[in-house]
Symmetry: C3
Subunit: 275 residues, 3 copies
């Protein structure tokens, strides 16, 4: 091989204002000095498991084979919730067994799941509030140096999975929802590119039962300041404002309903006597 | 050579709350595992090309020779705006052709400019919203492993340049403006150290036509809480408050006029009959 | 040895919105391309030496031996305040001599203290506002390549130490204070685990002279939304809210008094005739 550098990614809600992330990297550096620690993000809202699961699911595949992905959004830290290491065909995933890994794992073929129980591979003292530093960082570091997964603890058959909010497809169109709002204020929905292909005509977006915009190819397809919907870089339909924040301007929030309909009015509706 | 580690820097408006920056590093790591990705900053205000251009211009020269500087502030992503790779005597610069590279390039001797057109060096699928991940990261990674610039696309003679707001020098002094406000609330102006040497006496700063402060050597030259002007670490005159935020306290904004005058009142003014 | 990779950590108040941190890494990369720069945090509140000292003190020991820890919270930059390099049994510490290193150093055995005076090891031009880039980064980089400490400048006997606010122990309990508020809104006090062992019964926390909560083992020991106190990952008693921000909900601020008392009412008080 050209290069033996292994990579560990971190997806957490630890923020960057304190020393939490830095100390995890110190632990990795101590145990695996040649391993490369990469921040996916540490700005997952505190305790927001679904946001962490989404961030990991849309990113992990851009890393090299054998990367160890660590996701720690862990409101149950210190309780008896399990912690798991999961090997798939291409990666290892590490995190609390609360679903934060599950949306990524649903895209992979799972080879083995092990519970993190062998305290020999943790730091000597494990705090009850910072398993990122005391459990996950040392285990990730050791895995990155070739340590076998099965030494970590007993194998198990399964892990906790979060529901994925599948959109509803009907003759009238697609009913989806906002899954994630990004830094630009773009609202990423659960409507995938493949769902749109099921529609016979160029589709139109409805928000709060009112027509919002058409589906376009770029932000610039509409005038500056206008709403636009397009399949974004995560493979999902996004609602955006050309040059602005859709979340702010349209008061979008996660979970809000987004409808995609055919451009023409629904025939059953157009025949309705509105009087 | 002692070391073959190449360096890629990123200057973007992607923020750090999402997975955008992390996935770019994943792409680099996949294609060039020994290359070192360094964040210049990802907090350029969304779409603010001038802020990105300034950040790059005052920083790039502190990196080792052959560093690949990637700057992505790209409100036109997905349109037909060009993307360019520019080789100078010491560095390679990569970004959209919208001026974001131009203030750095104006300080360098340009050797070659190529348009990024050869899709073979992009990721297999290029989204319309995230060229950082799909175009710039893979191209930067490949350049860092020695890939020749000319393979990327056709050479071109020039690139888009942003105006640089040159201060106005006159017998009465210098008329400049605020270029950038930093995290401490210091206001960096377009008045360079060399402009100040043209003044015959110790200069005085005027804001909103009122005397603000003298030019000093350190923040501590004035009492705590007082305004002070000094040549900062970027080589430009900065307006600061000792121990506070000048931007907040003096309500400074980018583009605001800053005058530097000789300490004595202008003779033509002192003879004015104010009654 | 398995690996010669040296590590430099940075703890600063520079923030990440500008290019400051990136340029420091550029300087390190230029002078020591194989050295690994790690961010501890750059979000120390501007000029807050005590917050920087605390962040460093609770983190430095998680890094490998011979790591060079650079802490720059430096409101006196540009004045005649000294800058020091300190070698301890396991690490090197670098920073302004204003106390920012002192809480970490109080946990280490100090071997040598040198003033940074030899300008040959700085960047050729030293600005008066950014010693992080012009002094500390090049010195740290050179130390990381094996450069001897004593070349930096004359040895000195001592350095400036910040007071550590030791809690007051009495028969009635412990009187401590809030030292640091973290990203989750947890309030870290100066009451260490060992202080709690001095109490004869399970202790109770008092805030503003009112009973707040008991000391527990995990956040989840109390109902969602309730206050809880526990020894956190830094080894100090922390006040938290299960699933919320204690700082916000309880209006906690640094320096606020926190009392730990025995669970039973104080006998002298229970006999008081309150009429």
């Amino acid at each position: 091989v050209i290069c033996s550098v292994r990579c560990i990614t971190f997806t957490t809600d630890f923020g960057t204002q304190d020393w939490f992330v830095g100390t995890m990297k110190g632990v990795v550096q101590s145990l695996a000095p040649r391993t490369n620690s990469v921040d996916l993000t540490h700005e997952i809202p505190p305790g927001d498991i679904r946001a962490g699961a989404f961030a990991l699911a849309v990113s992990y595949a851009f890393f090299p084979r054998d990367t160890i992905h660590v996701a720690i959004v862990d409101p149950g830290v210190g309780t008896s919730r399990g912690a798991i290491a999961v090997r798939t065909d291409h990666y290892v995933f590490l995190g609390p067994d609360n679903g934060v890994l599950s949306w990524a794992l649903s895209r992979e073929r799972v080879r083995a799941v092990h519970t993190l129980e062998n305290r020999r591979y943790f730091l000597p003292e494990v705090s009850s509030t910072f398993h990122g530093r005391d459990v996950f960082a040392p285990v990730a570091a050791r895995l990155s140096t070739g340590f076998p997964l099965k030494e970590l603890g007993p194998a198990r058959a399964d892990f906790i999975r979060l529901d994925w909010p599948e959109p509803t497809l009907s003759r009238r169109g697609i009913q989806g929802e906002v899954l994630y709002i990004d830094r630009f204020g773009n609202a990423i929905t659960n409507i995938a590119a493949r769902h749109l292909t099921s529609l016979p005509r160029n589709p139109t977006i409805f928000l709060r039962k009112k027509r919002l915009c058409a589906v376009a190819a770029t932000y610039q397809s509409v005038p500056f300041g206008s709403p636009v919907a397009m399949v974004g870089s995560s493979g999902f339909l996004e609602i955006a404002i050309h040059g602005g924040s859709a979340a702010q301007r349209l008061r979008l929030r996660r979970g809000m309903r987004i409808d995609v309909r055919n451009r023409l009015p629904d025939p059953s509706r157009s025949t309705t006597n509105r009087r």
